[in-house]
């Protein structure tokens, strides 16, 4: 008897569209946004498909309005998403701070471009600080997930919704123009929720219960201090429970690369080539940038002779790598603020660090 064939549907898919498919699979039916390059595939896809499934697409007058549409829909207990790019995310920082303070869940996608300021539309990882340290006022955190493939654009978007709901907190998917614009084979695996959908705190009208508020203002006595410690404990719990990373050929690696997103993807090619030349290189790829996989980075640094941080910026994640390990003397950096490093460039650096001539 023949086993029933399992149908695996593989499609050629664009990264930005995979984010939409992940969001829709996770039950998101509300999308608000404002156009900015290089993420326009996302609002364009959502504006086409959400209305046909009973969902809502609304183009806002600004990113400032967008994040507050999000705040209102999140306060209504619905799954809601926006996407933007660096300058637009900057305008959303006010709302993000209020949402963190009000403990409201939503998914924010940043398909980042190069800054600061208007910068350029070239791919970049220059929004690392803004994402992981959080750019709004008051000191808050949010989970930040960094996909490096179209498949992950899909799966990490679904996970971002779960994290947002689990912690009642905004969560960010941080991509860039390359992982957003590229197409590759992708398998739409079904969404399996890990969080119960009940949201008793949502504002739905006070029928059958006392009135309730969604707010971030705490003026009485010690209330804001109590609230801030509560939020702090939440971020600590994220650090304990939500660290995501990939170990790539790290066993026996004397050169340990730390890279995320598109940069990590390029590093994989360089590492394969280095291994073919007999250079033991490997990589620890942070998938969650907050919480940062500090213990894993330290472990890799402990075992290696040199830690090479590769980023599409001038070395923002280097600070978190230094915070993770005492082996500061082993840390090197290779990066470009406004472009993708080539595998050849990375291989060249690996060879140099391994003491070999190219």
């Amino acid at each position: 008897m023949k086993a029933a064939a399992v149908e695996i549907r593989r499609e050629l898919m664009k990264g930005n569209v995979a984010i939409c498919l992940g969001a829709i699979a996770a039950g998101c039916r509300f999308y608000y946004g404002y156009p900015i390059t290089p993420q326009n595939d996302i609002p364009e896809y959502m504006s086409t498909h959400l209305p046909t499934m009973g969902g809502t697409f609304l183009q806002a007058e600004s990113e400032v309005a967008t994040i507050n549409f999000i705040l209102g829909t999140a306060a209504s207990g619905k799954r809601v998403m926006t996407s933007s790019s660096g300058p637009g995310i900057s305008l959303m920082q006010e709302g993000l701070s209020y949402m963190a303070g009000s403990e409201l869940p939503a998914v924010i996608v940043n398909i980042s471009r190069s800054g600061p300021g208007l910068g350029g539309i070239a791919p970049s990882q220059g929004d690392y600080f803004q994402a992981v340290k959080c750019g709004g006022h008051g000191g808050y955190r949010m989970p930040v997930l960094a996909p490096h493939s179209v498949q992950e654009m899909y799966s990490l978007t679904m996970r971002a919704f779960d994290l947002a709901d689990k912690y009642r907190n905004p969560a960010m998917v941080l991509g860039d123009a390359i992982v957003g614009q590229m197409k590759e084979p992708f398998t739409p695996v079904p969404y399996e929720p890990s969080v119960p959908p009940e949201k008793p705190w949502a504002l739905t009208g006070c029928k059958g219960r006392p009135r309730q508020n969604v707010k971030s203002l705490y003026l009485k006595d010690n209330a804001i201090e109590v609230h801030n410690w509560k939020l702090f404990r939440k971020y600590e719990r994220m650090r304990e429970e939500e660290v995501l990373f990939e170990r790539f050929r790290l066993d026996g690696a004397t050169i340990a690369i730390v890279a995320f997103g598109t940069a990590a993807r390029v590093c994989k090619t360089a590492i394969q080539w280095a291994r073919q030349e007999g250079i033991p290189a490997g990589m620890l790829r942070p998938v969650s940038l907050f919480p940062f996989p500090s213990a894993q980075v330290d472990e890799a640094a402990e075992a290696a002779d040199v830690v090479l941080v590769v980023e599409m910026n001038t070395g923002q994640m280097v600070e978190d790598v230094r915070m993770s390990t005492r082996h500061h003397d082993r840390i090197r950096f290779l990066g470009k603020p406004c472009a993708m490093p080539t595998p050849e460039e990375i291989l060249g650096e690996i060879r140099t660090l391994a003491g070999k001539r190219p």
């Binding site: 209102g72 006070c206 969604v214 707010k215």
Partner: protein
């Protein structure tokens, strides 16, 4: 019979003596009761003296960043079109930092109701100049009096918003005399009906007092509303849509 409205919480308010927020709150609560909306209302409170709306009106309330209440209300209404959604905003909030949000919410014909309290100053932050501050009015940031050459003119929001196609109802009222209060109630009732009948965006601008920051006694403040303020900001209905299927 003269009872406390069911939707008004039985607590002492934090507002200063002579302030009109309490009157506006009562009119709001009475109108919520009149249409039996208490259990299906979501309010959006703003920054400033009015943020404590959630302590006084017995309905679900979300808090918005300064000026962003129309955007937050948009997010609530789009998610829950069957609910009654209102914002309660001051003049600094609505006519300065939030002008973009209020104009675009109105222009979309967002089916929400806005109560806009204009007291020509920033109350909670200590009486600084607002976009509605009268020419010549001294505030803590216009200590020589507002001068149009430097600061421009007091902005007339009820008239401005009435020009937008999405606005179904725009009116300016005052609450300084019993007769005005009756008209204010009528305006709020109309604004509520616009939302209930899905006619589009509705706004009622209240001319209000701020005796503390104006440096006036409550009765002097009343006189200012009745005189100088309502001369520049004429009371009345600026837009009233009669047909829902507006094209």
């Amino acid at each position: 019979m003269f009872d406390r409205p069911k939707s008004l919480v039985d607590v002492r308010t934090h507002f200063c003596p002579g302030c009109h927020h309490g009157i506006a709150h009562r009119i709001l609560a009475e109108t919520i009761d009149r249409y039996d909306l208490r259990e299906k209302t979501i309010g959006v409170a703003c920054v400033g003296c009015s943020v404590f709306l959630y302590d006084y009106i017995d309905v679900d309330v979300a808090e918005a960043p300064h000026g962003r209440a129309p955007a937050v209300a948009t997010g609530v209404k789009r998610a829950q079109p069957d609910k009654f959604v209102f914002t309660y905003q001051g003049d600094g909030d609505l006519a300065a930092i939030g002008t973009s949000e209020i104009i675009h919410a109105a222009n979309r014909g967002e089916n929400i109701t806005v109560l806009f309290v204009n007291n020509t100053t920033y109350g909670m932050t200590g009486g600084q100049m607002a976009p509605t501050t009268m020419l010549g009015q001294r505030t803590s940031t216009s200590p020589y009096g507002r001068d149009f050459r430097n600061d421009g003119y007091p902005i007339k929001m009820a008239e401005l918003l009435a020009t937008l196609e999405g606005t179904a109802y725009s009116a300016r009222v005052a609450t300084s005399t019993p007769a005005q209060i009756r008209k204010a109630k009528e305006a709020v009732r109309k604004a509520f009906e616009m939302q209930i009948r899905e006619m589009g965006f509705s706004i009622v601008e209240f001319l209000s007092t701020c005796p503390t920051n104006w440096g006036m006694k409550p009765l002097e403040a009343q006189e200012r509303v009745l005189g100088e303020m309502s001369e520049y900001f004429p009371l009345g209905v600026y837009k009233e849509r009669t047909q829902a299927d507006f094209v």
